[in-house]
């Protein structure tokens, strides 16, 4: 079962306007690598030169902040939803889980 990746408006220029993508991979880095193959430039926007999640990007795997579960090497279960959001102030944490929006 594919992994669903939801993206902020500020990344959609790289993905041809798509806000939701299907991808595959066992880790976050692999999932982003899969997207990179179809949308060149994506990976560098969310991961830095060392392969770590950029300081101003937050990534959630389901309800969990990826930084607390291995960063870019965090395991991504089949069928999971991954959400990438800008992190104000270098990683401002949200008050609640990914479904807490409006």
């Amino acid at each position: 079962m594919a992994i669903t990746v939801r993206l902020p408006g500020s990344l959609r220029e790289v993905t041809g306007g798509q806000s939701k993508l299907s991808a595959s991979g066992a880790t976050l880095a692999e999932v982003f690598g899969d997207i990179e193959r179809r949308h060149p430039g994506f990976r560098d926007r969310v991961l830095d030169e060392s392969g770590a999640i950029r300081t101003y990007v937050n990534v959630y795997i389901g309800e969990e902040d990826a930084r607390t579960s291995g960063g870019s090497e965090a395991r991504v279960p089949e069928g999971a939803e991954v959400m990438v959001i800008p992190a104000m102030a270098g990683g401002g944490r949200r008050t609640s889980g990914p479904r807490a929006g409006s």
């Binding site: 939801r6 993206l7 902020p8 408006g9 500020s10 990344l11 220029e13 806000s19 926007r45 969310v46 950029r54 300081t55 101003y56 990007v57 937050n58 959400m83 959001i85 800008p86 992190a87 104000m88 102030a89 270098g90 990683g91 401002g92 944490r93 949200r94 008050t95 609640s96 807490a100 929006g101 409006s102």
Partner: protein, 280 residues
């Protein structure tokens, strides 16, 4: 280089200026009840309009503060990615906070505020900081003249970030005719971490923004902004938020090329980002 530390305003940020001027303008226009303060103590409060705006945080705190003092209720649309401190502060002043989809950022909050204002025009006084001339006027009449007076006319350049653009446009209107060069700074990428700033090429364009008010435009990378924010604290004793660090990065860029008295606007303080990894 001189830094104008807007964290010393009562609400802790540059946004106090715009918030006060926008609310007073709405009262003058009859959009808000100027007698709100007195009325709020009596039984007529429910008939008054609620101040509404979209904000990435600081304007929300400032509007909440001004609303508390002037007797107006305040409702704020904020993306669910602003720091805990700013949400808590706005609530402490009595505002109602609506959290919007973090994936849509500050533009999503704007869309939500527009929707609410359109659906219930009699309920809300939508001050719309991105389009409100009083936002610009606040800086033309206060920030700009203060810079001139506090530098005794020695200022040669003013550097400020662009979010709503009210600060840059208003200061430009006040000082450019006196020979001061205006530098507008923006994030270098649509995906950034500089609170309150907008990457204009990819964002909803504020109606008050006018590129021609600036003599120079500088793009700042988030990593450089955060590094400078920490450096300001550790080397200069200036406790700034990320946008202040970003503005100083732009100001240093200017200082490498020009001699003179450069004034940089540091929009808020580092204390409202203590819950974020900025200071870890």
């Amino acid at each position: 280089m001189w830094a104008k530390l807007e964290s010393f305003n009562p609400g802790g940020s540059v946004k106090d200026r715009a918030a006060l001027w926008m609310v007073l303008a709405a009262e003058d226009d009859g959009l808000l009840d100027a007698a709100g303060r007195e009325r709020s103590l009596g039984s007529g409060a429910s008939q008054r309009r609620v101040i509404l705006d979209a904000t990435s945080g600081n304007t929300g705190v400032a509007l909440a503060l001004v609303g508390a003092v002037r007797g107006h209720s305040v409702e704020l649309c904020m993306p669910d990615l602003v720091s805990l401190e700013r949400k808590a502060m706005a609530r402490a002043f009595g505002a109602h906070v609506r959290l919007t989809d973090p994936l849509e950022g500050s533009d999503g909050a704007i869309v939500e505020a527009r929707r609410l204002a359109a659906e219930e025009p009699e309920r809300y006084a939508y001050v719309d900081q991105y389009a409100n001339p009083a936002n610009v006027l606040a800086h033309r009449e206060t920030t700009g003249p203060e810079i001139w007076e506090q530098t005794e006319g020695a200022v040669t350049h003013v550097v400020a970030g662009v979010g709503t653009s009210g600060t840059v446009v208003g200061i430009s209107q006040a000082l450019r005719a006196r020979g001061v060069r205006i530098v507008a700074a923006q994030p270098d990428d649509a995906l950034h971490g500089i609170d309150g700033w907008k990457h204009m090429a990819s964002a909803l364009r504020p109606a008050i923004w006018d590129e021609s008010v600036a003599d120079r435009h500088v793009a700042v990378a988030t990593d450089a902004a955060l590094a400078m924010t920490r450096r300001l604290a550790r080397e200069e004793g200036v406790f700034s938020g990320p946008s202040g660090g970003a503005a100083v990065v732009a100001a240093v860029d200017v200082a490498r090329e020009f001699e003179g008295r450069i004034v940089v606007i540091v929009a808020d303080g580092g204390d409202r980002y203590l819950s974020t990894p900025l200071w870890e």
